[in-house]
Structure formats: C-alpha cells, structure tokens
C-alpha cells in the first residue's frame, strides 16, 4: 500500500496561503490571550499548579447537585469557591466534582481551605463522598513553577538551535526554532481560545511538542541538505519543493501514527491527562504543518533576501553530515 507516490506539489507557491493561515490562528490566539490578560491577569487560564490556590476533587456516592454544593459552601462562609463537574470525553460524569478556591496570600493558612471545603460538605450536604485528589499550592511555589516552566521551554529551544547550528547551519536552526515558536504560540493560543487550563503536565506536552516539531523539520532539512549536495545547479526553491515532496509520505505517516496514539490517550487517558493529550493533539497537527509551511519556506526566503543584498548564497555549501 502506498499513499503518496510521486507527489509533485509546488509548496512554495502556497506560501502566502500558509502565511495567512498561520497569521489567522496566531492572531486569534494572541487576541484571546490579550482578553484573558485583561479579565484574569494571565494570558491563559492557569491551573492550580501555577495560579496557586486549593483544589479538591471529590466523588459523591449519589449524583451531586452543584447548586446544593454551592449552598453548602456558602453556608460555611466560603463564597468564592468555583464548582465544576468533571466529565470524561464520553460525557459520563463519574459523580465527581472539582471544588476550587482562589489563591491564599498567607502561606501559613494554606491548608485551611481544604479543611473548610471538606468540613462544609460534611456539615451541609448529605451526600457521602470520598476525597480523590487535593492540590494546595501556595503563591511561592506557583511563581517558582511558572519561572521553571518558562525557563525549560526557552532552554529547550535554545538547546535545539545550538544543535542544529552545529549539525547544519545557523539559518536552519533559526528557521526550525521560528517554526517551533509558531507551534507553541498556536497551541497555547488554542488553550486560550478554548478556555482550557494550562497545568504542569501541559507544559511537559508543549516541550514534547517542541521536540516533535523539531523532528519533523529536521527530516525535511536533512533531505534538503542531501539534495543540495547531489544537485548543486538546481535552484533552491526547486530543491526545497522536491525535498518536501520526497519526505511527504514519511511526514504524513509518522504524524498520522503519532496522532493516533495521542488521540487514543486523549480519548482513553482520563481527565488527569486531558490537557496534556489535548496539547499534543493540537501540537502534532501544527508541528507537522509548520515544518512544511514555515520552516522550509523560511530557508528560501532567507536565501532570496541574501541574493537581493548581493551576497553569495550560503546554503548550497551545506556541510556533510558528520555521522
């Protein structure tokens, strides 16, 4: 069986469409982030990991009524609790409810929120329950984690830039990192647009996506480098097009297969991994798209800009792989 035999698409001719597509999604994400910034003070809804606060997940024996839970909270003097029923993807609620309190400024009273929630449920709501999960995060830890997450993402991109610089050339690295940044932006934008919370595991997913998107880009770049060595007289746009077409089959297959595994995770992995697998589902689609639509055209655009500046083309002199 073969899907993509002898494909011959002029990808570079489509670059303005690609640009428009990317711009629409990036800008939509950015606008949504701006709106979040105004309403909640951060560009995306943050999970309790980063925001700090208290989150208690309880499972009731009988189907819970959120209004009655809210009343129970009010009766105990907890006015600012948010109550959310947990639904799995197949829309069955396991009688589980997530009760969250906003961040406590005072770290010494950090645990009080949880105790209050549990006590008020016991006192004012006659539906037996078990506590399934508790997360209490103080402002200090939240800040530290936020910083760590940002640093990790930056370092990871930087590490790859350096690796590509060493293995290829700087411009390849820059193009790949721009593509990765584009993927990250759109994925985070998707969280903002859909009002989904970003937690620690989502950051892990985004870092994975950085690595994955880089993978895809490198496969195309490797082929460009190889083809440049084989046919030195061919124009760069033709080489890039040919390389994308030659690797297209692999790109679509791998992405498709990884996408399927991640989709299985999204469907069967349960609520804990929901954000994580969502980020990967979006990220794999975007990451695959960006290596064809962003990274490769950037190489050509850079080359064209260089030749307009009257400088010699650098790309054809690509180094031999050292492995």
């Amino acid at each position: 069986m073969e899907f993509f035999r002898g494909v011959n698409v002029d990808w570079l001719r489509l670059k303005w469409y690609f640009l428009a597509f990317s711009m629409i999604f990036s800008v939509a994400g950015l606008i949504s982030m701006g709106m979040h910034m105004r309403s909640i003070g951060s560009p995306v809804p943050l999970g309790v990991d980063f925001k700090g606060g208290t989150q208690v997940q309880v499972r009731f024996d009988k189907t819970p009524d959120t209004d009655r839970i809210r009343n129970a909270m009010k009766a105990a003097g907890i006015g600012d609790a948010s109550i959310q029923t947990i639904k799995s993807v197949d829309e069955t609620s396991g009688n589980e409810v997530l009760i969250s309190l906003p961040e406590q400024q005072d770290e010494s009273s950090l645990d009080a929120g949880r105790q209050q929630i549990v006590a008020s449920l016991q006192a004012h709501y006659d539906n037996p329950f078990t506590v399934r999960n508790v997360q209490v995060v103080g402002p200090t830890v939240g800040k530290q984690l936020e910083k760590q997450a940002l640093l990790a993402t930056l370092y990871s991109m930087l590490g790859m830039l350096v690796y590509l610089w060493f293995r290829f050339q700087l411009i390849y690295g820059v193009a790949a990192v721009v593509a990765c940044f584009h993927d990250t932006l759109i994925t985070v934008g998707a969280f903002a647009l859909l009002n989904k919370e970003i937690s620690l595991t989502v950051i892990a997913a985004i870092l994975t996506l950085v690595g994955y998107s880089m993978n895809d880009t490198i496969v195309v770049f490797d082929r460009i480098r190889e083809n440049l060595r084989l046919s030195r007289r061919e124009a760069l746009p033709d080489v890039v097009n040919r390389s994308i077409n030659q690797t297209l089959s692999r790109t679509v297959l791998t992405s498709g297969l990884t996408f399927l595994t991640v989709l299985s995770l999204f469907i069967f992995g349960g609520q804990v991994l929901n954000g994580f697998s969502f980020a990967l589902v979006v990220g794999i689609l975007i990451g695959t798209y960006s290596s064809i639509a962003i990274a490769a055209p950037m190489l050509v655009a850079w080359q064209e800009w260089r030749s307009r500046q009257g400088k010699a083309a650098v790309l054809p002199a690509a180094k031999r792989p050292r492995v």
Binding site: E2, L110, G211, V262, I267
Partner: protein, 543 residues
C-alpha cells in the same frame, strides 16, 4: 557475513533475556527449593509507581531557617553578657537592634578605657563566626554573623528538619517515603509519602511542627502587655519577650496572663533526648518526663543551679504552657507539668522522642491523590497504551506488509527494553510516564517509517533488494540521529526542570527513544539481513 549475523542475533537474544529479567525480576526464576512468585505479581512488584498512580501525598515545606538563626544569635547575646561579666567589663546593653535582621548583635556602653579589652574578648571568642566591628559610637560594637556561617546554619537546620520528618514518617510506618531538599537553596523540603490513605496521617507529620523550649522568666504574670511593659520600666528590652500564657503555675490553674521571658531559650527542641508521658501521682495531672542530651544537660544544670527559687517557663509554639519554680538544680532529667490533655502529652512525647524540629515548617504545596484515583489512572493509561499500540501495529502491517512484521517486532522489543529498564532501575512510573510510553510508540515507529520509505525510494530507483536496504538504512540513520537527539534534549531539560510526574514522563520518553535506536535500527537491520539471506534471487523485499 553469516557468522557476523549470528553474533548479532545472539546479542539481540541476550538483550531480550536481560530485559525480561529486568521486568519480572530474579525472584521469578524458579530455583530449586524456592517457590517463584506468580508472573503478574512479579511484574507489578518491580515497577515503582509514582504518587499519582499509587496514591499518596506530596508536600513542599518551607523551613523557617531564620528562626534557627534568631535562636543562635539569642544564645550568643546571652553568652556575650555572661563573658563580659566574667571578664569584669561593664556595658550598658547587649541586644539585637533590628528584629528583621536576625544576624545582627550590638554591644553598647563599654567604658572607653575598657573598650580595647572588650574588643579583644569579643574578637577572640567570636571572630570565627561573627564579623566584629567597632561601632559608630565609642565603646560600642557590632557583631554580624558571617554569611558563610549563616548558610551553614541554615543548611544544618534543613538537614535536621529532614531528619526529624524522616523519624516521624518512619514512626508512622510509611514505606518508601522520599524526603529531600527541594529547589536550589531556598531551604525547602520535598516530602513524598506514597500510599498514604488517610489525609489526617499527613497532618500529624506536619502539624507536629511544634517547637518546645524552656525560657527563664523575668517577671509575671501581668494582666496584659501594657502592664508587663510598665513593670520593665515602660518598654521590653530587646533580649526579652512577652508571651501569653494559659498557664498553670505550680499546679494551680491561673487566669491567662502575660509573662516577660528571656528571649534566649535555656533548652530548645534539639536538646531533648527522650520524653515519655506520665501522670503526677499526687495531683493526677498529665505530664511529660524528659531527658536532655549531655551538652544541654550541662547547660541546664548551670542555669538551674544559679536560679533556684526563680521561675522558668515551658513554651510550645510561642505560647507558655507551663511555668514552674526551680526547686533544685536539674541536670538532664525533668518533667513538664502543665495544661496538657492526654493526647497532647502523648503527641508531645512522641514529638520530643522523634526529634523536634529545629525551626517551624510552612506548607508551600500539598497534593494528595486518593488510591482510587490512582488505580483509575493506571487503568486508563494502560487502556490508552494498548489501543495506541494495536492501532500502530495494525497500520504498519497493512501499509508495509512483510516489513510491517519487522517494524512490529522492533516495536515490541522497544517496549520490552523500556519496561526492562523501568523494572531494573527502579525508576518511577507516573501517569505522564505512561503517556511517555505511548508517545514513544508513535515517535519510535517514525524510525521504521523513515527507513522503509527510504528503502521504497531506493527500490523504485531500481536498486537490488540488498542494496536498497543498505542505502535505506544508511540515509535514514543520519536523520534518525538528529531527530532523536533533539527530542532527547527537550526530554532532558524536562527531567532537570520538572518535578515528580513530569520527571516520570521525561524518563520513559528518553529511555524509550534511546532503546528505539537499538530496536528500530539495529534489530530491524538484522531482521532484514536474515530475510535477505533467505530471499531467492530476483525476488523483491515485501515492503
């Protein structure tokens, strides 16, 4: 060539055997006289589940190290006073001028002609730990604890706190706890308690952050803080403090009152060696019998022998729990009587026995996963993994036919190596870790796709089967190395920056991809070569 191939096959078989042993463990091997464990139990015993799968509690605690520094300088102030007195050097006051600066001590009002003697004394005794500077005014000195000493003290405090927590956790019988310093020098402690079912169990570890101290009483009880201040001539000297009491004075319950105490404690948390609950035979009051360490015993003897007839206060968590008159000199045994309930006495004794905390702890973060949620997560994670694997394997079979078998074998071997590593190394498997396994399948199969697509291209270009396989592997290898390195770079950064669950993800992804280099490239190649050897001339590889 043939022999070479045999060697490679032997190597692969050896790896499989080692990895399967890694998964099931040595205990599963049926040895004479030993009943082997059932297979499933042998496997599950070897995999270390993380907190999110096993259930349990995760805490980040801040050690209030400044309290330890404060206590240390308080002690130094007391020592300085004593030494100046012994050396017959008069001074107007020795105190800590700024409550916000725990490291700062000032000595003031030494007569000018004695100023040099005082300097020599202070320098000879304290220049190891303090920077001694002649003050702005004549006859006054400023001692600042050296930053290195402060750091060392903070380190020691955190280490002691970790020890104390470990003792308590052990006393609760929690297996495989993880208690370690967290972060980079912020004096935080990470406590992971797997399998803790009951949330109140956690509380007993942390809420027992009581500090028990004995202080000398300067005066009291007073009705309120104002009265107390008035008794000391309007304001409380810096080396003294006001504390509330719900106290019992010599066995008689009294109204709540305010006492003035010496700030420096006579006996503090770490000075207690043991403690046991008991009851006063005469009054029926609950009390705690304690023994002190040798060093603290000497100090306590020194203090009590000089202060017979005066009062001392037992302070717990900055509240006076008991005030007692010193009847005679005490060395290392004593009892504390006070407003204790039976539970408090038991808790206090346990606390003292297991080592009190050198400073109080504040919870910065707490996560608690119920075992039922963990079990759900395992079930869901494994379902997702199996579905993912089956889909990928089925696709490879359909799309690449004969070579699909090759890819599927490599995939299964990849999982065996990964699980073998997890079992043998004792690395922790978390829910994101299972996600890492699933992702490894997707990304690992990429190597096979790269190679197969390349072989197809070479076949199309008219190469012979063996040349096509050869070229396919050679070209794809470069790409595979690049893609694996970049992914492993991002996973390594996750491992460094991430905590708990996320670390588990980085682990499985990194190991999975490293194993993939072996399975998808080396093993696949061997399978191809073995197949090519048997292939009749003129026939094509099934790809």
């Amino acid at each position: 060539m043939k022999k070479n191939l045999t060697n490679k096959i032997l190597l692969i078989i050896a790896v499989i055997v080692v990895c399967i042993l890694g998964i099931v463990g040595i205990s599963w091997i049926p040895l004479p006289g030993v009943t082997p464990k059932p297979l499933m139990q042998a496997v599950t015993d070897r995999i270390h589940y993380g907190l999110d799968l096993k259930g349990g509690a995760h805490l980040i605690l801040q050690v209030k190290v400044e309290e330890a520094v404060n206590a240390e300088t308080d002690n130094t102030v007391a020592l300085i006073k004593q030494e100046l007195k012994t050396a017959n050097l008069s001074y107007s006051q020795a105190y800590k001028p700024d409550p916000a600066k725990a490291t700062l001590i000032r000595v003031e009002g030494v007569p000018l002609e004695k100023s040099n003697d005082a300097r020599l004394l202070l320098e000879s005794k304290y220049s190891n730990t303090y920077d001694v500077v002649g003050g702005d005014a004549p006859g006054s000195f400023t001692l600042t604890m050296k930053p290195l000493i402060v750091t060392a003290l903070e380190k020691k405090t955190v280490a002691q706190a970790i020890e104390a927590i470990r003792d308590r956790v052990d006393a609760l019988g929690i297996s495989e706890p993880q208690i370690q310093e967290y972060g980079l020098g912020d004096n935080q402690i990470l406590v992971d308690l797997p399998g803790v079912e009951n949330e109140s169990q956690i509380e007993s570890i942390i809420q027992g952050t009581n500090r028990l101290e004995i202080h000398a009483v300067v005066g009291g009880p007073y009705k309120d803080a104002q009265d107390a201040a008035a008794s000391q001539g309007g304001s409380i000297p810096a080396d003294q403090e006001l504390l509330n009491s719900t106290g019992v004075i010599e066995g008689n319950a009294s109204e709540a009152g305010v006492y003035v105490l010496q700030r420096a404690s006579v006996v503090a948390g770490n000075d207690f060696r043991s403690a046991d609950p008991s009851t006063n035979q005469n009054t029926g009051q609950k009390m705690v019998e304690f023994t002190l360490t040798n060093e603290a015993g000497d100090k306590f003897y020194d203090y009590t022998s000089k202060n017979v007839g005066r009062y001392m206060a037992v302070v717990m968590n900055d509240r006076i729990r008991s005030v007692a008159v010193i009847k005679s000199a005490i060395r290392d045994r004593g009892e504390i009587e006070g407003t204790f309930t039976t539970e408090e006495v038991a808790a206090l004794s346990k606390l003292l026995r297991t080592g009190a905390l050198p400073a109080s702890l504040v919870q910065l973060e707490k996560r608690f996963v119920g075992a039922s949620l963990g079990a759900d997560s395992i079930r869901k994670g494994i379902t997702a993994a199996i579905v993912g694997i089956l889909v990928v394997m089925a696709f490879m079979l359909v799309y690449y036919r004969g070579s699909g078998i090759n890819a599927d074998l490599a995939l299964i071997l990849n999982l065996i190596v990964l699980l073998g590593f997890m079992g043998a190394s004792g690395a922790t498997l978390t829910l994101p870790g299972i996600a890492g396994v699933i992702l490894t399948i997707g990304m690992g199969v990429d190597s096979n796709v790269l190679i197969f697509e390349r072989i197809r291209e070479e076949v199309r270009a008219g190469k012979s089967p063996s040349a096509a396989v050869d070229q396919g592997f050679a070209h794809a290898w470069v790409t595979i190395v690049d893609t694996h390195v970049t992914t492993i770079v991002s996973a390594a950064i996750l491992f460094i920056f991430g905590s708990g669950p996320v670390k588990g993800f980085a682990t499985t992804l990194t190991v999975g991809l490293a194993a993939n280099l072996f399975t998808a490239v080396f093993v696949s190649r061997v399978i191809f070569d073995a197949h090519l050897n048997k292939l009749k001339p003129g026939k094509l590889v099934s790809i």
